[in-house]
């Protein structure tokens, strides 16, 4: 049974400040409405791409989104920052309405957007459980029935009669998540809540989430950057990009599509990598003693080379972050400790060598940023990806990929 159906959902936002122009636009809209005409500002509006400067005052955060959700399905919604995920969730959770189109639903939707919404610092933990539960749509009787379970899950038994303002931030999050976890809506909307609490609590939270979606057969819409979580929880996924659906299908295919989409590896947008202090000319990843573009094998030393133009006499550090294809950070290295360049101005080239037999075969992502002083001057994520291919092995040895992102040259010895 289709429990939720989105038809041609679009959402338009006004850019810039709401100021004196607002009244005249409002009047224009109103006048058009009276004459039975369409809103004149619906025709304008640019596709939502953060990096390009807009030529219109209006922007489409979402454009013609269509999807259906079956009962009991766990649908993943994935996309880059600014792809429109949060806007979609806001519409789904009835915080705002779409500019055009409609969503029909056969069940109650409750959202777990950001836990702890509506906590009152002066009220005790127990009082806040009731208040928060009611805000999320539970009745008093429902909360009462689950009170002990909620308190137990949060692990805050000792503090339930203490005002929440005395709680540590971790305790607050635990309590809030506990309330939300015991919600029983027909459709649950979850946005990135897994990024809260300590490791132990995260494990508990993911476990609970799995229970909700798998055990209880609840319909769940799950938005996350964590591809591993999406893969383990979702049955189907849609990929959003610049406010439109670019892919809809099986989770694994969707994740692959998203990861591929994300890596616009060949063309780095250098305009984002320049400022009044430094201008990055090129960043290349290649195998030592080979040229750029040739495949890198596991037994090659990997070189990351950066050519740049330094304009000021600040000590500027270059920073790389290497990530695996699910965007887990593997390691980071900055140049500040290695090179002091406060006296250098002009064309410079730095390189860093990642020795062979460290990275396993597979695809890796590179974040690049510049550091001045103790903070990032700028940092761009996933500017580049590179693939490490398996080294040539002797015939007969294991040809598959061994597990893990690292493949070190280690040795077992008799002793």
């Amino acid at each position: 049974m289709v429990i939720l159906k989105a038809e041609n959902i679009s959402k338009q936002y006004r850019l810039g400040l709401v100021g004196t122009g607002t009244i005249s636009h409002d009047l224009n809209r109103w006048w058009a409405g009276i004459r039975g005409k369409e809103d004149p500002y619906l025709k304008v509006g640019a596709v939502n791409d953060r990096s390009t400067k807009a030529d219109s005052d209006y922007v489409w955060a979402l454009q013609d989104i269509n999807f259906e959700v079956q009962q009991g399905e766990v649908l993943g919604i994935i996309g880059k920052n600014g792809a429109g995920k949060s806007t979609l969730l806001k519409i789904l959770s009835r915080v705002t309405i779409p500019t055009t189109g409609e969503i029909k639903t056969k069940g109650r939707i409750a959202s777990l957007l950001e836990v702890g919404t509506g906590f009152h610092p002066e009220l005790t933990g127990k009082e806040n459980i009731y208040l928060n539960g009611a805000i999320l749509g539970m009745t008093k009787a429902e909360i009462k029935a689950k009170e002990t379970e909620i308190i137990e899950f949060s692990g805050c038994e000792r503090y339930v009669d203490t005002p929440v303002k005395r709680y540590s931030s971790g305790m607050r999050v635990r309590l809030a998540f506990a309330v939300a976890a015991f919600l029983e809506p027909d459709i649950l909307v979850i946005d990135e809540v897994l990024a809260v609490g300590d490791a132990e609590f995260q494990k508990k939270a993911i476990g609970k989430m799995q229970d909700i979606s798998k055990g209880d057969g609840r319909t769940v819409l799950f938005v996350s950057h964590n591809m591993a979580a999406v893969k383990s929880l979702c049955t189907r996924a849609i990929v959003l990009e610049h406010g439109t659906t670019v892919f809809e299908g099986e989770t694994d295919e969707a994740v692959d599509f998203y990861l591929k989409e994300r890596k616009i590896s060949d063309k780095i947008d250098y305009s984002r990598l320049s400022s009044s202090n430094i201008e990055i000319k090129s960043i290349n990843v290649f195998a030592k003693s080979k040229s750029v573009g040739q495949p890198i094998y596991m037994d090659d030393d990997v070189i990351v080379k950066v050519d740049f133009f330094k304009k000021s006499n600040d000590n500027i550090g270059l920073n790389i972050r290497i990530k695996d294809d699910s965007e887990n950070f593997l390691f980071t290295h900055g140049s500040l400790n290695d090179i002091d360049n406060s006296k250098d101005i002009g064309e410079l080239s730095y390189l860093i060598e990642i020795p062979k037999h460290i990275l396993n075969q597979g695809e890796f992502l590179l974040d690049f940023g510049c550091v001045i002083g103790k903070s990032f001057h700028f940092i761009e994520e996933n500017i580049l990806s590179f693939v490490i291919y398996p080294e040539n092995k002797e015939l007969g040895s294991y040809m598959g990929k061994s597990k893990g992102v690292f493949k070190l040259k280690l040795n077992w010895e008799k002793c």
């Binding site: 289709v2 936002y13 006004r14 709401v18 607002t22 409002d26 806001k90 519409i91 789904l92 959770s93 009835r94 915080v95 705002t96 309405i97 779409p98 500019t99 055009t100 189109g101 409609e102 969503i103 029909k104 639903t105 056969k106 069940g107 109650r108 939707i109 409750a110 959202s111 957007l113 950001e114 919404t117 509506g118 009152h120 002066e122 009220l123 009082e127 009731y130 208040l131 009611a134 805000i135 999320l136 749509g137 539970m138 009745t139 008093k140």
Partner: protein, 287 residues
């Protein structure tokens, strides 16, 4: 999808707006939230204060005392047979209910933006809870007023409680609804035009002077006939005048005034609900 299937949708999130979209069933479903909000507002206001709920009493008492000194002792406003302090206390108590209802509901969207931006519940729950929690505060203040009435009565003051006092709850309701209606209109407009925020705080002050709080309506007609119409067209003046008539037996009672007030209140309330309904759906984009 067949026609019949379409009918069973529980609700639709759509760009189309109806003029009045007032879902009583849903508000009823959230009644526990309403009660909890009222409880929160009442309990937390004076947390970590020494005097606690006594503050509910201090404010009207001192205002009434100041009014008595300035308007009655210095400016010699006549309050008839009723002791001036009692006259002022009645006015201030009722006025306070209206003004706190108005000023706190008019802030609904802005002060709840964080919560409204995360979860859905019928937004009208918030202004309703403000009206109710202020009603409790008003009840406490009314008790202290009654205590002073008894005190003055025992000391020989002339207080004629009319039988129409049975309709006093109706007057309070009228006051609350008027505050709610105006507050909802203003709160909706404030989301876009912040100018109104400044207007409200000093507008309420000005409004008090034309609402017959510290003088009888008749006195205005007598002393300033040229601009008495400002007060006479102000429904609040009738509410306060009528309330004083019921509680203390002073001033005029006019059926015309009551009818006029009821009509104005209903119009403002309806307008408030319509505007509030339109705003609650998209305000998060503009706030």
């Amino acid at each position: 999808m067949s026609k019949k299937d379409d009918d069973i949708w529980l609700y639709t999130i759509s760009s189309k707006r109806k003029l009045i979209d007032f879902n009583f069933k849903e508000i009823w479903r959230y009644r526990d939230l309403l009660i909890l909000f009222v409880k929160r507002d009442v309990v937390t206001v004076y947390k970590q204060t020494v005097l606690g709920p006594l503050w509910y009493l201090i404010q009207p008492l001192f205002t009434a005392l100041t009014f008595t000194l300035i308007f009655n002792k210095v400016a010699n406003i006549e309050t008839g047979t009723v002791p001036p302090f009692l006259f002022n206390l009645a006015g201030v108590t009722i006025w306070n209910y209206f003004s706190t209802c108005l000023s706190s509901t008019s802030d609904t969207f802005k002060s709840n933006a964080a919560i409204f931006g995360k979860v859905y519940f019928p937004r009208i729950i918030v202004p309703l809870s403000i009206i109710l929690s202020n009603l409790m505060k008003f009840g406490i203040q009314l008790l202290i007023f009654i205590a002073f009435c008894i005190y003055y009565y025992l000391n020989g003051a002339e207080i004629n409680i009319k039988s129409s006092i049975l309709f006093f709850p109706f007057i309070v309701l009228l006051m609350g609804l008027l505050g709610l209606g105006l507050g909802m209109i203003i709160s909706s407009l404030v989301t876009k035009y912040r100018d109104l925020k400044f207007l409200v705080s000093f507008g309420i002050q000005l409004l008090m002077y034309v609402s017959a709080v510290m003088y009888p309506l008749a006195l205005m007609r007598e002393k300033l006939p040229a601009i008495a119409w400002v007060v006479e067209y102000n429904p609040l003046a009738y509410v306060i005048e009528t309330a004083r008539y019921m509680l203390l037996g002073t001033g005029d009672f006019s059926w015309f005034g009551i009818l006029y007030t009821v009509i104005v209140t209903l119009v403002i309330l309806m307008l408030g609900i319509v505007i509030f309904n339109r705003t609650e759906k998209t305000f998060i984009d503009t706030v």
